[in-house]
Symmetry: C2
Subunit: 171 residues, 2 copies
């Protein structure tokens, strides 16, 4: 099935990670593919260390800079395409049951990947895999075909009080 | 700080679990306290197996039946109180940095714990710990004092099409 976590609130990536962990607890292999990310957050470090690429694997496909309009170049597109290629391999693999496409919604929103291409790939495997797409601004084309859609709505966030991203919490 | 994940959508518990994993990846100890739950879901099994109560621990305080009005008895209250006692111990512990009070919002909503008691306990530790409350129907008294509040809004869910909870996905 196709799952979407979108919206401006906290908890999208962590929900994807938590879902991977839950599935792994029942013996299903999970692959987490982090688009637009190159900084190794807490989840990256611990998953690599504890699972060693077995029950859960995590890999990053980001150029290292924050995606904002006017700041996007070929390197970002190449990384996104490499991420999607890796995702397709994971979808084809018999071992992998859960595929988390972390931040792919943002990548689609900025046009680094074509919505139709991603739709075609995930539609092909939706009956046998759990495909989880996270990130703000999920395009309507994806929402339409998804089975689960949760909008994480920000009600309160300390960033608004000037508090910066904190280690272990935001990354 | 105090974090709340509430709303009717999927991803509240998994966001709490994912946050615990992220924090552990930076060396912070996390305690997950599952209120109103007695079935050992995927996250329970894998956390106990992989972390053995060290970097992340998870414990359950539920009577084994689903909380619905008219179906609540002393056993549920005792379990909720035992969960809160355990939570207080975790909050007092120097080692533990992140405390996930999974489904506590529901427990508060049904009056199994007093809102003022929980508010008093979490307020005492909010400056030095990350306290994460999950579950539908979070009472206003908690929302008011929280730093982060995310409402997980259900946009689409296959339950509406008659699909039942699936192993590795919903539990």
């Amino acid at each position: 099935m196709i799952h979407v976590y979108t919206g401006n609130g906290k908890g999208k990536t962590t929900a994807g990670i938590g879902q991977a962990l839950r599935a792994a607890g029942h013996g299903y292999k999970a692959e987490i593919i982090q688009f637009a990310k190159a900084e190794r957050g807490g989840e990256y470090n611990i998953i690599k260390k504890v699972f060693k690429g077995k029950k859960i694997d995590i890999n990053q496909f980001g150029s290292g800079k924050y995606l904002i309009p006017g700041n996007i170049d070929n390197k970002d597109i190449e990384k996104a395409e490499a991420g999607m290629k890796y995702a397709e391999k994971a979808l084809k693999s018999k071992q992998t049951k859960v595929i988390v496409l972390d931040e792919i919604n943002v990548v689609l929103h900025y046009g680094l990947l074509k919505i139709d291409t991603v739709k075609k790939i995930i539609s092909k495997y939706r009956k046998i895999k759990e495909i989880i797409l996270t990130g703000q601004s999920c395009p309507d084309g994806i929402i339409k075909i998804a089975d689960y859609v949760t909008e994480m709505k920000e009600v309160k966030h300390p960033f608004k009080k000037g508090i910066k991203a904190r280690r272990g919490i935001e990354y």
